[in-house]
């Protein structure tokens, strides 16, 4: 037995040192303590066997508890860290797990004063050996139950890995199981009285086998070289950090899990939504889920974001559907771009077709009649086609700019240039310009946006005394540019074209300039508001301040 105990110490210390080198790999430090506990138990057992007096035997028997109590705690912490259950290995949890071992070690060293671990201690001759005979006290059974309980808990992460697809994890977990079961079975056999060991608990002898098992796990199966620890966390992280919103529903439509992104999309929090039915949290999304449409698009109330909704069933091992996963993929940009292209297509086709029909009709007329007015109309329509083409080119430019890194421009310089250009082109229009702060920087795309707003105000102003007023008002993060005029106002259907998400079927499309303003501002992160009636129009551009320059 002594030889086996010595072997267990040699293997235990070696394994402990090899594990120590692997810090801070998860499980390395608890494995060191596990080995330390085993070695301490083996060493004190040798000292106890070698001791010749009752006092010395009792002393070593009592001090054994330091190692005995350390083993289950270290085992559980090792298994939890190794299996990736790090949320249970925080300092608080470690302290909690260590309470019983600490009490046990203290009671072990002070047993002669209270006899909570052993009720008595006598020397007896058994099988020709002088051994210590002790009757277990109440705390002996407490720590025994605690040891077995923690041993079982530690098995949970290992059992999960036995069926792992990774071969080395299977090997690791199997060898670790051998490492646990060998001393466990020995201890059970001893407690049941099946082992003729003259009353000596031979559990440490089995530590030789468990030490070899841990050593094999370390060297043969790269215990800390290929670690399953991240698996659980990776799955959770993948779920939490994915760009898509994801909800898990049970068969009753109750939200049983969701990531933060999904909570943001639905305008709620995970704390509030979990356990609630989807219908309560988002009736709109439920309605989409019930439709049989091929394309399922969800736009949360009060937002301009658009999500593609997809649903997949969750099945168990028997292929039974036990729930479903709903994912919300943000397609706002694509969706908006698609809408814009549709509008462009419609408007462009409509305008060109109208102009061409006029041109064709009047060209036929001019072939037989000489009419100055018809020729003028024909020419005007041809110019309108050219203007439409020019505007479309500008819009395409804006879309292209939207995909690029843009430089910031001084808002004052942009507005000054627009106002000057307008004064040159429309000298009959009276212009008022209140520049506001001159040090503001804005996205370069607002150059096109502002010039279109200001030009539109002058171009369509049919008042007898036309005027345009440009004012600027800045706050900390945004700046408002107001362009007011006394023109005839904008036709409601043209405003609808740009204000209602552009999906309204177009009746007449002269609103390319407006579309360019709205889309350009949107792409650059700003917004546009129109107030229009027969007395005039006020366009308000809200522009984010990109920076400030020193005057």
């Amino acid at each position: 037995m002594k030889l086996a105990l010595l072997a267990s110490i040699a293997v235990g210390v070696t394994t402990g040192l090899l594990a120590w080198r692997e810090r801070p790999e998860p499980g390395a430090v608890p494995l060191v303590f596990l080995m330390a506990g085993q070695c301490w138990w083996s060493a004190t057992l040798i000292f106890r066997i070698e001791a010749t007096t009752l006092g010395m035997k009792v002393l070593f028997s009592n001090s054994t508890w330091l190692g005995v109590a350390l083993i289950p705690a270290a085992w559980l912490l090792f298994a939890l860290e190794y299996g990736g259950y790090n949320e249970y290995t925080t300092r608080r949890h470690v302290l909690l797990i260590m309470i019983v071992p600490a009490i046990t070690a203290f009671l072990g060293f002070t047993d002669q004063f209270h006899h909570l671990i052993y009720l008595d201690a006598t020397l007896i001759h058994q099988d020709g050996i002088l051994t210590l005979s002790r009757t277990p006290g109440p705390w002996f059974w407490v720590i025994a139950v605690y040891t077995y309980l923690l041993g079982f808990l530690g098995l949970v992460p290992l059992f999960k890995l036995i069926t792992s697809q990774v071969r080395s994890f299977r090997g690791q977990s199997l060898t670790l199981l051998v490492g646990l079961i060998a001393p466990w079975a020995t201890n059970l056999a001893h407690l049941s009285g099946y082992l003729p060991t003259a009353g000596i608990d031979p559990t440490p002898v089995a530590f030789t086998l468990s030490g070899v098992a841990y050593l094999s796990a370390l060297t043969q199966f790269k215990l800390f070289g290929a670690s399953p620890t991240p698996i659980r966390h990776a799955r959770r992280s993948l779920y939490e950090q994915m760009h898509q919103g994801a909800l898990v529903l049970d068969t009753h439509g109750t939200i049983v899990d969701m990531n933060d992104r999904a909570a943001t999309v639905l305008g709620t929090t995970t704390e509030r939504a979990l356990g609630e039915s989807l219908e309560t949290v988002s009736p709109e999304l439920t309605a989409i889920g019930d439709t049989t449409q091929h394309k399922r698009v969800f736009t949360p109330k009060g937002t301009r974001r658009t999500y593609d909704v997809s649903e997949s069933p969750v099945t168990d091992v028997h292929d039974r559907t036990i729930g479903r996963i709903i994912t919300l993929h943000d397609i706002s940009d694509l969706f908006r771009m698609q809408q814009r292209l549709e509008v462009l297509h419609r408007v462009f086709r409509h305008n060109i077709r109208t102009n061409i029909q006029v041109i064709l009709g009047y060209a036929g007329y001019l072939a037989t009649h000489n009419s100055q007015s018809k020729a003028e109309t024909l020419k005007r329509n041809a110019l309108e086609i050219e203007a439409t083409g020019e505007k479309v080119r500008e819009i395409i430019d804006v879309f292209e700019e939207g995909r690029k890194e843009r430089e910031n421009l001084r808002l004052h310089a942009v507005l000054r240039e627009c106002v000057d250009a307008m004064e040159r082109r429309y000298p009959e229009v009276t212009v008022e310009y209140d520049s506001g702060p001159e040090n503001l920087l804005v996205d370069g795309l607002f150059d096109i946006v502002c010039s279109n707003v200001i030009e539109n105000a002058a171009q369509h102003n049919t008042s007898s005394e036309p005027w345009v007023r440009v004012t600027v008002e800045a706050s900390e993060e945004t700046v408002e540019v107001r362009v007011a005029d006394n023109g005839p106002g904008i036709e409601p259907h043209e405003l609808a074209l740009v204000e209602d998400g552009t999906e309204t079927p177009l009746k007449h499309g002269s609103g390319f300039g407006l579309a360019l303003v709205v889309w350009g501002a949107d792409i650059a992160g700003g917004s546009v508001a129109f107030e229009s009636d027969a007395a005039g129009t006020c366009v308000t551009l809200e522009i984010p301040v990109a920076g400030r320059v020193n005057p």
Binding site: A10, V13, L17, I46
Partner: protein, 307 residues
């Protein structure tokens, strides 16, 4: 340019050509292993235990083997741990350790495991003593209390670093054979311990002359870093003198017999001669090995006559 063995015509190469290549490679590997893994230090440590066993008239026990294994384990581990910092001062050793670092660490761990298991045979005191070098090494080389923040590696603390190393080894070398013998502590034990402590201190500081540039860079304060080479030489003369005075006092007090005094004084003089070479020769590596072998004359004087 490297000289090819077959084209070299000097005497040694002619001699080497007579050795079968495989044997030659094996011999070189063994020599490198002994030197670079510090296995020779393990042999010296075992020799020191034998010296103590003889000086204190103790029975022969496995203590020498345990001390040897502990020394091999701790130095082997230290070589692996200090790979980066040793690269400049001991490039050949670093290259060897780098190549075999896994094997060396595994052998060190196994050696420590075996040492602790054997120490258990010597009883609780021997078991405790076997843990001393490991704990001392942890305090010396590792940032093992990072959460406290203020605690530095003791390797960086001036004088304390060498005191810790010398103290730990002196404790093991002197008291391990006594623990195995399980008898009363002889009166001379204290003197022998102090002697081993002082001479170990000198032996620890001598290699620091070679390592002073690297030590300065990583913030390790040793005698050569703080006092310079000349200052170190004088300081170590002082420690040698102290060791000599201790031995003479012990002799006067009757704790040491004349032959023992003579044997140990030989060791002190040997060390003092090596100290005298500090700063006067470029072969600091040679001085280091010579200092580490300073017990061998005593071993020859004490143990060989017994055989």
């Amino acid at each position: 340019m490297a000289i090819k063995p077959q084209t070299n015509t000097n005497d040694s190469s002619v001699l080497l050509r007579a050795v079968p290549p495989r044997l030659y490679r094996l011999g070189t590997l063994l020599k490198n292993f002994l030197l670079f893994s510090s296995a020779y230090l393990a042999i010296i440590a075992a020799a020191e235990v034998l010296i103590v066993t003889e000086l204190l008239s103790l029975p022969l026990t496995p203590a020498a083997l345990v001390a040897g294994l502990l020394t091999f384990a701790v130095y082997g581990n230290d070589r692996v741990a200090d790979l980066e910092t040793d690269e400049r001062t001991t490039p050949a050793r670093t290259a060897f350790v780098q190549r075999y670092h896994r094997l060396l660490y595994a052998l060190s761990a196994a050696a420590y495991g075996l040492a602790v298991a054997l120490a258990v045979l010597g009883g609780p005191a021997a078991f405790g003593l076997a843990l001393v070098p490991g704990v001392a090494w942890l305090c010396y080389a590792q940032d093992w209390l990072p959460s406290i923040g203020q605690v530095k590696r003791l390797k960086q603390v001036f004088v304390l670093n060498s005191v810790l190393v010398a103290g730990a080894w002196a404790l093991v070398i002197v008291f391990l054979p006594m623990a195995f013998a399980e008898g009363p502590i002889p009166p001379a034990a204290g003197v022998i311990f102090l002697f081993f402590f002082l001479s170990s201190f000198i032996r620890v500081e001598i290699p620091n002359v070679r390592d002073r540039v690297g030590d300065r860079e990583i913030g390790v304060k040793t005698l050569p870093v703080v006092l310079g080479v000349r200052g170190t030489r004088y300081a170590l003369y002082g420690v040698s003198g102290l060791a000599g005075a201790l031995l003479v006092t012990a002799f006067v007090e009757g704790l040491l017999a004349l032959p023992e005094l003579a044997w140990l004084l030989v060791s002190v003089v040997y060390l003092a001669v090596i100290v005298a070479g500090l700063g006067r020769t470029d072969n600091n590596g040679g001085l280091t090995v010579a200092a580490e072998c300073s017990r061998l004359p005593v071993l020859a004087l004490v143990v060989v006559p017994l055989l």
